[in-house]
Every structure is written in C-alpha cells, then in structure tokens.
Amino acid sequence: MKLLYFAWLREKIGLSEEDVMLPENLRSVADLVEWLRGRGPGYQAAFAQTKLVRCAIDQDFAQADSSIAGATEIAFFPPVTGG
C-alpha cells in the first residue's frame, strides 16, 4: 500500500511517501495510525495528536473508523488551510 504524508506530518516523518506491507489484522484508519506510531519517533511525533490528523483513502476524505480494505493509496495530513 502507498502512504502519503503532507505538510508537518511529512516533515515530522521525514518522508512524502512510502510503500508499505501492512499486517493483515489492520482494519481501519485508526488501526493503521496505531501501527504507524510503532515505526519510530518521527511517526510518534506526527501522530501524537490524532485530532490534528486528517486522512484520505484513494483521494477521498476518510474518518478514523473508515475501512482500509482494498485501498491502494492512503494520505495523512493536517486539517486543510486553503482558500
């Protein structure tokens, strides 16, 4: 699965994107975040405050309880600030 990171999540993790093999027991975005937190201090810092993290699954906004089954691209980013 392809993971993308934007804005300060990208800076804290130190990557804009990566391909990962996920354990099969991950079901939701929240499960994925929990798994990512275990990958190192950059990830821990990025996902320290989950209320400041938003997500998109295959380019559509998603929620913490959204299923990640069948997803090919999941993006994490702060609340948007365009306009």
Binding site: L4, F6, A7, W8, A56, Q59, D60, F61, E73, A75, F77, P78, P79, V80, T81, G82, G83
Partner: protein, 147 residues
Amino acid sequence: MPRIIVQQKDFDTGAELARLNAGDVGGISSFIGVVRGEGKITALHLEHYPAMTERALMKIADEAMARWPLSDCTIIHRVGTLHPGDNIVFVAAASAHRDAALRATAFLIDWLKTSAPFWKREDFVGGDTAWVAAREADEAVAAAWVK
C-alpha cells in the same frame, strides 16, 4: 461544466469573469482571496495533494451546481510560493439571478477552506516559518452550509 484549475501562475480575473458571461446569464459573482501580510509575513507556501486536489474542487463545484441554478462556476487555486498582495484563490458563479450567484460564491469559498487538500506555511519577518493552523471559525462557517 465547472472550470477547475490548480496552478502556480496568477489568473486573469477579467478573462475569467468574461468567460462566465455566456448564454442566458443575468449575474456573475466572484470572490478573490489575497495573501495577507499584516506586516509580519514575507511569503506564503501553498502545498497540496495533486492527485486529489482537482477532484476535491470539482466535488465542491458540483455541489454548488446542484444547490443553485447556476449556468457555470469557476474555482482557481494557486500553489507554490506567494507573497503579500498576491492573488491566491478565485471563485465565481454565474446565474440568471443574483441571489443564486452570490450565495453559490459564498458557498464555494466557505467549503473550499475546509474541503480541499491545501496547506499553507508562512515565512515571517526574522526568518521563522510555521504551518498555518486550521481555524475553528472556518469549520463553523462551512458546517453552516451542511444540509
């Protein structure tokens, strides 16, 4: 068909408004967002999610077209590095009547602020730089449009 553009360069507001004056249009409304410097910001960097941005903007435009009798609408958002006084975003709506055009324009910019994947980072006088935090007030304004 809404016109959706994400680009680094500036837009020509006159040409964009003229383009909406077609068919049986009775009014064209627009909003232009400008980079605000407040005497402390030297530059603004706009990051976005290229694979998603145009799709998210098209959803906002389609929603406006569904809610009001518009003949057409336009969303243009700039990305990259901008400076105080630069145009950053253009939204416009054309309709037979002003009420639809005006309300749709407000909707377009209100929803864009909370529903399109853009992130701003500001450079300050003195060299500091910081990501702009989302404003709860923007969320509340956008939420007011939820049916």
